[in-house]
Symmetry: C2
């Protein structure tokens, strides 16, 4: 379901949060679907259970999952999450564009950079 990129400088728990987040947002993991248990995922990824727990704690704090003690962690399926993430990405586009404009990049170049992504996705 998830793999750790050793070349990625970000902490392991953060990588897990980010990848799980995308799996939920893309609908690969559906509402109320169970995620791998802390201990299972720890074995699969060959890392410490505490690190998984930390990632799950973050995901719960962000509202992506909910926990049932004795049973496991499940995707919340909250609808607001997708909208929040869309806004996050659009804000990032605006911020980067602002920086680009400030050093002379044209609107045409920026829209072309957007279109370059459309083909790949």
């Amino acid at each position: 379901m998830i793999y750790i990129d050793v070349k990625d400088s970000r902490p392991i728990y953060e990588q897990i949060v980010e990848k799980t987040r995308m799996l939920i947002l893309r609908g690969v993991i559906r509402k109320d679907e169970k995620l791998p248990s802390v201990r299972n995922m720890a074995v699969e990824l060959s890392i410490n259970p505490n690190t998984i727990q930390r990632a799950y704690g973050e995901l719960e704090r962000l509202g992506y999952i909910y926990t049932v003690k004795g049973k496991g962690n499940f995707a919340s399926g909250k609808e607001s999450l997708l909208m929040e993430y869309r806004k996050e990405l659009l804000d990032k586009i605006t911020q980067t564009s602002e920086l680009a404009f400030s050093i002379g990049v044209t609107e045409k170049e920026l829209t072309e950079a957007v279109l370059a992504a459309e083909g790949r996705a």
Copy 2:
């Protein structure tokens, strides 16, 4: 010339690199213009000289400044730097757009996010 944002989670030396970089790219610091000395800037920002030195070391490695022992650090004014940074920003736009497309954001929304920045810059 530069200030440190204590709320910024990034390391101090990295903030200095990024801000100095922008000052050079925007032409605020001109070719062969002298940057504040290691000790001076350390006093101004109330941080350790070693931290400034690390930032200047990075800037030199990136080609933004050159060092003359006994005299100081100076902006290189290399022309390629601007083009490299433009490419960096455009790549970031493409990457973020790709992610956005993958969760259903439309081309229209993205171009609007670009345009939103044009007014501010």
